[in-house]
């Protein structure tokens, strides 16, 4: 009997606690009846105008300001109840799934407010701007190029979201709704006679369309990338590929650099004749490590601008550049070939000159007539086999010191050699 009473009391306590916490979660700030959705507006009067906009964020519509804000105190700006980069995920948890092939940087970083107004907006989904105008805010280079394109791609004109998903894509790169060519063949049917004719009878239905075509439009007919490879522009695919009627039509006539040598023989001989080769030139992928054989937006048919392209392998150097306090101009501009020869060289680091002094002198000519003594005849006191040159003091890729010196210029640099002045 005693035991039954005790059990009942415990159960009563649990039920009471649950009831209290339920009511607390429903109205954790114990607002007066009828105050919900109105009490904040007594001070934030200007917000009333915002509420007249056609699209309201659900908590705003329900008057649940405290879903996102703490009315009393907070460790976060705007009295948000958690960090501005995390708060949206408390409701919109799966917006960027754990495993994705591509994700929008702003979404991953929780910068939702770059695109959405957290309260209300004129546009659906609380977007700050409508249509492509929103995307153009960040993707300015692309927007500028698209505006100047003579040949437009109609889905792009209708809206970026025709092909792209805004937050993340689990299956595809570049936030595409479907892989290439899957997304292209929904409009461009490969079995149509015109399609076959345009592609010289080559079986390209499963190929990567964006290897030749710029999906955002182009200045060239057929929306080929701005700088097409001459055989592509001339529709001479069989110059590199087997005959379109052959069973393996897309196979190239030769492998590696031997294929490119067919036309670029003199250049290849020059490249292969130097002492130091850039090893990817002679590997299995060869020229295609850096060049797109069909067409590109970059000059020299480069797959990407130099900095990201070189950075694919030399990521450590790019990372160092990013951390560098002072930037070297060619490096900052991503002009790696200002100093390096990309294919081969007779000089160390594939430099475009026999000595660092001559190389640096192509821009910094003053150092030839007024500088610390440098040159073959000036020994480096630290090492009997070295002469003083620009790299004795400077790291051309940058450093954490002013003028990208190896050491702090005031206290450490000079005393590396002039030890008698060390303090």
């Amino acid at each position: 009997m005693m035991l039954r009473t005790k059990t009942s009391l415990v159960l009563l306590a649990i039920v009471s606690t649950m009831a209290v916490s339920l009511s607390y979660s429903q109205d954790k700030f114990r607002l007066k009846p009828g105050a919900k959705g109105k009490v904040c507006l007594t001070c934030h009067e200007a917000f009333k105008e915002k509420l007249k906009l056609p699209f309201l964020h659900t908590p705003v519509k329900a008057g649940d300001c405290s879903d996102c804000h703490n009315p009393h105190t907070s460790s976060h700006g705007k009295l948000l109840s958690s960090s501005v980069n995390r708060i949206c995920f408390s409701c919109h948890e799966g917006i960027v799934p754990g495993k994705t092939r591509s994700a929008h940087k702003v979404a991953v970083e929780g910068n939702c407010v770059k695109c959405h107004d957290p309260h209300a907006a004129k546009n659906k989904n609380n977007l700050l701007l409508a249509g492509n105008e929103l995307c153009s805010g960040c993707h300015q280079r692309l927007a500028k190029e698209m505006a100047g394109n003579k040949f437009k791609h109609s889905p792009v004109e209708k809206g970026c979201l025709n092909c792209h998903t805004p937050h993340a894509s689990a299956k595809t790169l570049s936030l595409l709704k479907n892989d290439v060519p899957g997304i292209c063949v929904t409009c461009h049917r490969p079995d149509a006679p015109a399609f076959g004719k345009q592609h010289m009878g080559y079986p390209v239905a499963k190929s990567n369309c964006s290897s030749c075509h710029d999906p955002h439009g182009s200045g060239s007919r057929g929306i080929l990338w701005g700088k097409p490879h001459q055989p592509v522009a001339n529709k001479m695919c069989n110059q590199c590929h087997l005959d379109p009627s052959s069973p393996d039509a897309l196979k190239t006539r030769k492998a590696g650099y031997e294929l490119c040598r067919g036309c670029h023989n003199a250049q290849m001989n020059e490249i292969l004749g130097r002492n130091r080769i850039h090893w990817p030139v002679v590997d299995k992928t060869s020229c295609q490590n850096c060049h797109n054989p069909h067409a590109s937006r970059e000059s020299g048919l480069l797959k990407e601008p130099q900095l990201p392209l070189c950075g694919e392998c030399h990521g450590d150097t790019i990372e160092r550049l990013d951390k560098s306090l002072v930037k070297h101009k060619p490096v900052q501009e991503g002009n790696c070939t200002k100093c390096h020869m990309p294919h081969s060289s007779n000089n160390v680091f594939l430099l475009d000159n026999t000595t660092p002094i001559n190389l640096c002198g192509t821009c910094h000519d003053w150092q030839k007539h007024s500088s610390h003594p440098i040159g073959e005849k000036v020994a480096d006191k630290r090492n009997r086999n070295l002469a003083m040159d620009c790299s004795s003091c400077h790291d051309p890729h940058g450093s954490e010191h002013k003028r990208f010196t190896h050491y702090d210029i005031k206290m450490e640099l000079c005393v590396q050699c002039h030890e008698q002045y060390k303090r």
């Binding site: 002492n275 090893w279 086999n385």
Partner: protein, 300 residues
């Protein structure tokens, strides 16, 4: 007073932890001496290859387009002359077989030349038999039984040849890789491949056809490793060209530590290119950017 006591206590704990972690570090490299010149006093220039086997040390004096020989005796060495050959104008990798023949990869022709101990050029290494595809060696290594392991970047494979040049094995590169710059063969006959771009070591077990990852990606521990060496115990050494240091891995590929740093003075490195571990004495590092070879002793 209480604060001072707290400070002393935390400092002591810090010191103990630091000492503990230091004690756990496996190997150290103790500077012995640098090699700046050949037997005639002429300076070394941009050396990119180094090999030590038995009492022979061979340096690819790349910038001067020659091979240099030294005789190792315990903890010291003496110059043994230079080899200058028109067939090997730009040696970048070297190794030596049990007969004392020197093998050198020429960076310009991208062929491996064989040189007799007398200095006579014996010809280029050519795989015997039916080999599909062109061969472009990026590196090579000779094992204790004089088998030659060739890292063929053009056809994306490792070719293993017996001393007569006959192909024993052909190991294709794995599907996913960045760029393999060097290889090593450990005491057990396993092949180690260094992926400079993915900053990872892969392993081909003896008689296995497959390349399997050995280490995790070493991003954060190494900048741009371009050469690999291993000792009798299976410890792996990576030459970090851009990081101007040596990274040590355990036989299982686990990160064990980083040694040496960038500098011009003796004991420092500037863009090192290769490393060899002699049987009973020092290790030699081709310190390319400093125009010298440096010798270190491995200590516990």
């Amino acid at each position: 007073m209480r604060n001072a006591l707290k400070y002393v206590l935390s400092a002591s704990i810090g010191l103990v932890v630091a000492a503990g972690s230091h004690a756990a570090e496996p190997l150290k490299l103790r500077m012995m001496a640098p090699i700046y010149v050949d037997g005639k006093g002429a300076g070394i220039r941009q050396p990119e290859g180094v090999s030590c086997r038995g009492n022979a040390l061979v340096v690819a004096d790349t910038g001067n387009g020659r091979l240099l020989r030294y005789a190792i005796a315990g903890d010291s060495w003496t110059p043994g002359g230079e080899i200058v050959l028109p067939q090997l104008p730009f040696p970048i990798r070297v190794d030596v077989n049990s007969k004392g023949d020197i093998f050198a990869l020429d960076g310009k022709s991208r062929r491996i030349g064989r040189v007799a101990p007398s200095g006579e050029f014996l010809g280029y290494v050519a795989p015997a038999g039916d080999v599909q595809g062109a061969v472009v060696p990026r590196s090579f290594r000779i094992d204790r039984d004089d088998n030659l392991y060739l890292l063929d970047v053009y056809s994306a494979r490792v070719l293993v040849m017996d001393p007569a040049g006959k192909i024993q094995r052909e190991i294709p590169f794995p599907k996913e890789y960045g760029f393999f710059s060097d290889l090593a063969v450990d005491a057990g006959g396993n092949i180690l491949l260094l992926d400079s771009v993915r900053k990872r070591v892969s392993r081909v077990a003896k008689n296995s056809p497959d390349v399997a990852p050995l280490s995790e990606s070493l991003t954060g521990e190494v900048h741009f490793p371009t050469a690999i060496a291993t000792d009798k115990q299976g410890t792996i050494f990576l030459v970090d060209q851009n990081g101007s240091g040596i990274v040590i891995l355990g036989p299982d590929g686990s990160f064990r530590g980083r040694r040496l740093s960038m500098g011009w003075k003796d004991g420092f490195l500037r863009h090192p290119a290769a490393m060899c571990i002699s049987d009973n004495g020092p290790v030699f590092i081709a310190d390319r950017g400093n125009n010298r070879v440096e010798a270190f002793l491995i200590t516990e």
